[in-house]
C-alpha cells in the first residue's frame, strides 16, 4: 500500500446514536488500509469550505461493504450537525489518513492511555497495537458525564486496567483527568503516557508524565481548516529538539507530538 493520504468519496454505511455522540461507519477506499492509531480524517460538510477533522476510532479490514472506518462525532456547529445527520447511503468526501500517528515503543513497556470525551476514540486502536507488541496497557477514559463517555467495554480485551472518570461522578470515579492523572501514572508505572483530549487535559497529562520521568505522546486538537498541511492555518507552538521555539502545523507535524515539546502557555 503506498504511503500518504488519499482524497476519496466515502459512503455512510452505518449511523448510530450512542449517548451524546453519533457513531458513523464509512467506506473510504484506501483510508482504512493506510490507517495507524492517532490518524484523523477530514470530512467535507455540505456548504462549508473548511474541512472537519475527526479521529478514526476503528477500522475494519473487511465488512459487507469492504474496509470501513468509524468516527465518533459530537455535534458542535453546523458542520457536525450536517455530518451527523447523514443517513446510510449518503456520500461524504473524505481525506485521510491524516497527521502523524502515535509513536509506538520498540520494547514491551508499560503504557498509560488517557482520553477525554470523543477524543478517547483513537486510543482504542492504539491499545490493540500496543497489546500486540506485548506492552502492558492501562486505559483511563474520562468525560463530563456518562453520556459523553466512550464505552470502554471492548477495550477490556486490550487493557490490563481500565479507569473510568466522570466530572459529575455519574459513573466511575468522580473527578477530572487533572485530578487523577498523577495517581494513574504512578499506579500504572507507565514508561509512556498517551493522551488525547482538549489542550488542558493534555497539558495535565504531559506534566504528570514529565514529573514521573515518563515519555508522553499527546494528540492535540487545534482547528485544522484543511487538515492536509496546505494552509498553515493550524499553528502549534513547540520547542524543537534543538531547544529553539518553533511553530509547526498541528495537522502535519502533529497532531501527535511529544507532550514535553508543546509550549502549552502559547496555545
Amino acid at each position: 500500500m503506498p504511503d500518504g493520504p488519499v482524497h476519496v468519496q466515502g459512503e455512510v454505511v452505518a449511523t448510530k446514536r450512542v449517548g451524546g455522540y453519533r457513531h458513523l461507519t464509512l467506506t473510504a477506499p484506501g483510508v482504512p488500509e493506510r490507517f495507524r492509531a492517532g490518524n484523523f480524517v477530514a470530512l467535507t460538510a455540505d456548504g462549508h469550505v473548511a474541512r472537519r477533522a475527526f479521529w478514526v476510532h476503528r477500522v475494519r479490514a473487511s465488512s459487507a461493504f469492504g474496509p470501513t472506518l468509524d468516527v465518533v462525532m459530537e455535534t458542535r456547529g453546523s458542520g457536525t450537525a450536517w455530518l451527523a445527520a447523514q443517513p446510510v447511503g449518503a456520500k461524504v468526501a473524505i481525506t485521510g489518513p491524516l497527521g502523524r500517528p502515535f509513536a509506538l515503543p520498540k520494547d514491551a513497556v508499560s503504557c498509560l492511555l488517557v482520553g477525554e470525551g470523543y477524543a478517547a476514540a483513537p486510543l482504542f486502536p492504539l491499545a490493540e497495537r500496543l497489546r500486540e507488541r506485548g506492552c502492558s496497557v492501562s486505559l483511563a477514559v474520562s468525560a463530563p458525564d456518562e453520556a459523553h463517555l466512550l464505552s470502554a467495554l471492548e477495550a477490556r480485551r486490550s487493557a490490563r486496567a481500565v479507569t473510568v472518570l466522570t466530572a459529575d461522578g455519574s459513573v466511575g470515579v468522580r473527578g477530572t483527568v487533572a485530578d487523577h492523572v498523577g495517581d494513574l501514572v504512578g499506579r500504572s508505572d507507565a514508561d509512556v503516557v498517551y493522551a488525547a483530549g482538549p489542550h488542558h487535559v493534555l497539558h495535565a497529562v504531559a506534566a504528570a508524565a514529565e514529573s514521573a520521568g515518563a515519555w508522553s505522546q499527546v494528540a492535540v486538537e487545534s482547528p485544522t481548516p484543511c487538515g492536509t498541511g496546505l494552509c498553515h492555518g493550524c499553528p502549534l507552538p513547540v520547542v524543537g529538539e534543538d531547544g529553539v521555539d518553533r511553530v509547526v502545523r498541528a495537522c502535519t507535524e502533529g497532531p501527535v507530538v511529544r507532550g514535553d515539546r508543546v509550549r502549552w502557555a502559547s496555545l
Binding site: 500518504g4 482524497h7 467535507t44 469550505v49 481548516p225 492536509t228 494552509c231
Partner: protein
Amino acid sequence: MSAQVPGPVMVAAGCGGTGRELEPFSGHAGLAGLDLVTRSLTLDPRPGGPGPRVAEVPGGLVNAVGLPNPGLGHFLATELPWLVRAGVRVHVSIAGATMGEYAELAGRLSTAPGVAGLEVNVGAPDEAGAGLFEVREPYHAASVVAAVRREFPADRPLLAKLRPDVSRIVEGARACHEAGATAIVVGNAVPAAFADGRPGGLSGPAIATIALRCVATVRDALPAVPTIGCGGVHDVTSARAYLDAGASAVQVGTALLHDPTTVARLRASLSTPPSADTPEETA
C-alpha cells in the same frame, strides 16, 4: 527571448503547503510540470501569526496566517531542491518590508538552480499588519516590480500579484507591466475582518466575481497585458470564466484546502480544449 506566461493552472501562493503535501493528491501525472507558487518567502524566517489564523465564512475563508515561512536560506537549502527533483515548476513568491528586501530576494533567487519564475506579492490584504512594504498607489507596486526585474533574468517569468480592486487595477496592471512584469496576477485575498474585527483576507468562491470583474476590466483597457485570474477558482466552470474574460491562466488557492485534488483535476480538464460532446467536470 521573453518569458512565457505559465499556466493554464497554477497553485496559488500559500495554499500548497511546502509543495510536498500535494504529492499524494496529484494523480498519475504527479507533481511533474506543476506550476506552483510557493507561500510568500521573506529573507528571515517568520513564525506566522497566532491562532485562530483561519475562520470559515459563507462561501469562503478569512485568513491572517501572517506569512509563516522558513526564510529564504532554509527554503533554498531544503525545500527548493526537493521541488525541483519532483519536476515542479517553482514560482517563488517573495514579500519584503522594503524595496531593498525585494531586490535582495530576487537577486539570490536569480542564481538558485531550478527557480522557474518569481511572483511579487504586492497586494496582501493586511500589509501593515504583516509588516510588508505598503502598496498605497499603483506606482509603489511598479517600483517593486522594477527593482525585482533588474535582479531577475528577463527570460524567466516575473508575475506581479495585485489586489482585486477595480478602481486601481488598470493603473496597477499597466504600471507593473511597463516595469517588467510578464503577467499580472489579478487577485489576492480581499481585505476583510474576522468576526471580532481583526484584519484578515477573504478568499474562496465568495470572491470569484470580484476578481473576475478586475480581469475583464484589464482585458478591456489593456488587451496586450497578460493576466492570471486568482480568486475562488474551484472547478472547470469557475476557471473558464476567467479564461473567457481574457486571463491567460488561473491560480487555485482556497479550493485546494477544501479538496486537495482540485488542481490535479483542473490540469487534466483544462489541458485539452472543451469539446461539445465531452461534458466537463463541475463541482
